[in-house]
């Protein structure tokens, strides 16, 4: 049982590099910081409980993502009927921040806010796919493994999710226009 004794430390060492990803997956899935925190914590605890059976067949990140995603799905299912007050607040229902901000920064923030909001409007499946691939940069086969679906299904979810996002942000097209952005650069993946 000596191994067990040090397992919390071992677990922490293994998992710490991915805590950010876990948190942001939960944040994007849940849509507000409070729920995200609960959910991410739940995910970490679940991971720790399953730690002894983790043999390293999968990448640590994939394994963690799978657990975190499941925690999110469970939490979303549990809260389904009501919308968290935090979600409303974070969607812009709370008092406006009137502090003066340079225009560019304001625009960037606004774009971020709109995008976050649009993400919460997607359905659960598309959101998970988009968050994993487009936000967190997982490869298709990794994301498919996390979500436990075939790659083909994942691809179609992503394609539909991207279009839905673009559709949701249609009214803010000027804000997202390429002219207001740095050059379109290619992304190394």
């Amino acid at each position: 049982m000596g191994e067990l004794r040090s397992s919390a430390a071992a677990f922490e060492q293994l998992v710490a590099p991915y805590e950010k990803q876990v948190y942001y997956l939960c944040l994007r899935m849940m849509g507000n910081a409070h729920d995200a925190q609960d959910c991410a914590q739940d995910a970490m605890l679940r991971a720790f409980r399953a730690f002894h059976s983790f043999r390293g067949e999968a990448k640590v990140s994939t394994w963690l993502y799978t657990i975190a995603h499941r925690a999110c799905v469970d939490a979303l299912r549990a809260r389904k009927p009501q919308v968290s007050l935090n979600t409303l607040q974070e969607q812009g229902w709370d008092a406006e921040d009137t502090a003066p901000t340079p225009y560019a920064q304001l625009e960037q923030q606004e774009r971020k806010r709109l995008l976050e909001q649009a993400l919460t409007q997607l359905n659960e499946e598309q959101r998970a796919a988009i968050v994993l691939v487009d936000l967190q940069g997982l490869l298709y086969d990794e994301a498919a493994q996390v979500l436990d679906i075939p790659v083909g299904t994942l691809k179609s979810r992503i394609a539909r999710g991207r279009q839905a996002l673009a559709q949701l942000l249609k009214n803010y097209r000027e804000l997202f226009a390429p002219s207001s952005r740095p050059n379109i650069e290619r992304e190394g993946k």
Binding site: M1, L4, M44, G137
Partner: protein
């Protein structure tokens, strides 16, 4: 010129940088020409940057580590019983044995019950040990396997039934899984002891309790049938001394039942503490404001707020103290029963004991069958009425159905 669908199909390859130069040219040509695709492209690029600069909240970073440590503490007392039990139930012969054991317990139970109700005259006290689940010594409840030689007889099955299927074994698991060192845990235990020297034991118990720094919160003495006395007590024991006290109780009499539970209130406690701190700092700010207050209206308003905050502070402090008391002093529900001394002193011969036991079982089985027969007869009139009602309803439905057709 490609269309939007074709463009979509190339998007991922483009992002991965795996397009051929010709494809890349076409891709960019469409991107520059098509507003919709341009918009989608920008949104997609924004997605990638959304969480790049973001930081992990410090609260999350610290709290999951804490939780994992706490979880480890709980896991550190290894508990392999559930695993063993699953294997156990998978073996067919053991399943049969369990059923047999359950039947035995049923018969034995009704037998004991029958005797307690005074329905059967007991000639000897031989079959007392039959109710193995009843007179299990403390060691077994506490988990050390060690069979009392008296019980080794009649029933390996009996023991299994008591050991595996009795709810008490669950309680035992819980108890052993409880981390002794963890903070903010409310411990509660309840046990029933049976003793032949009621008065001495009761006095000794109180002395021991006082010596350990505990106190009696409530005691309720009563006399039951056959002049048996009963003391129901609620004791508060300093949590560090609980195990020592329980250990001492072991020697006192026979343990009839034991149950222990631990409730982790760390989170609630920490929550209360945080709220208390918030209210305290609010109070300080209010008092600073009070000194600066210019108009009477302001003054009144602030004082009103001070009163509210004070109320909040008091209730939070009260709640914390309540928790402290519960955490520092474990609650022990103790029932001390006086045991009537059996008249037959010496142990009768094995043959006589078996015969007596068989007689008991036979009597119990007979009583059971008789009861079943009585039940059937008693239920008969009701069954008749029920049958009549069903009959009438069916006729009604049939008629009704025909009318509708």
């Amino acid at each position: 010129m490609m269309n939007c669908t074709q463009w979509h199909a190339l998007l991922d390859a483009h992002l991965a940088g795996s397009l051929t130069p010709a494809q890349q040219k076409d891709f960019e040509a469409h991107l520059n020409a098509c507003d919709d695709c341009q918009h989608l492209y920008t949104v997609r690029m924004d997605c990638r940057m959304l969480d790049d600069a973001a930081e992990v909240p410090a609260l999350f970073a610290s709290s999951w580590r804490q939780q994992v440590k706490r979880e480890e503490e709980i896991m550190q007392e290894p508990n392999q019983l559930p695993v063993r039990r699953r294997k156990f139930l998978n073996r067919p012969w053991l399943r049969v044995a369990s059923i047999a054991a359950a039947l035995l317990v049923m018969v034995g139970g009704s037998l004991t019950l029958g005797r307690q109700l005074g329905m059967q005259q007991r000639a000897t006290d031989a079959s007392y040990d039959y109710a193995a689940g009843y007179s299990m010594p403390y060691q077994e409840w506490a988990g050390t396997p060690g069979l009392n030689s008296k019980q080794a007889m009649a029933s390996a099955e009996m023991e299994m039934a008591a050991d595996r299927s009795a709810p008490q074994s669950v309680a035992r698991e819980e108890a052993s899984a409880t981390p002794r060192a963890a903070t903010r845990i409310i411990r509660t235990a309840s046990l029933t002891l049976s003793t032949r020297s009621f008065d001495t034991d009761l006095a000794a118990l109180e002395t021991k309790l006082l010596a350990l720094g505990g106190y009696v919160e409530n005691i309720d003495l009563s006399t039951q049938t056959r002049a048996r006395r009963n003391a129901d007590m609620r004791l508060r024991v300093p949590v560090d001394a609980l195990d020592a006290f329980l250990e001492q109780l072991k020697g006192m009499g026979q343990l009839l039942s034991y149950n222990e539970s631990a409730q982790d209130v760390s989170e609630q406690y920490a929550d209360l503490e945080t709220r208390l701190k918030t209210q305290q700092s609010k109070m300080q700010r209010l008092q600073a404001l009070l000194e600066k207050a210019g108009s009477v209206k302001d003054l009144l308003e602030i004082e009103n707020e001070v009163a509210n905050t004070q109320y909040e502070l008091d209730s939070l402090t009260g709640a914390l103290r309540g928790y402290d008391s519960k955490i520092n002093y474990a609650t022990l529900w103790l029932t001390l029963q006086e045991e009537t001394v059996p008249e037959a002193q010496g142990q009768p011969a094995l043959g006589a004991r078996i015969r007596a036991a068989l007689e008991d079982v036979w009597a119990a089985t007979k009583a059971f069958c008789e009861d079943a027969a009585v039940l059937v007869v008693v239920l008969l009139p009701f069954a008749a009425v029920l049958a009549l009602v069903v009959f009438i309803i069916r006729i009604f439905i049939k008629k009704h159905g025909r009318k509708n057709k």
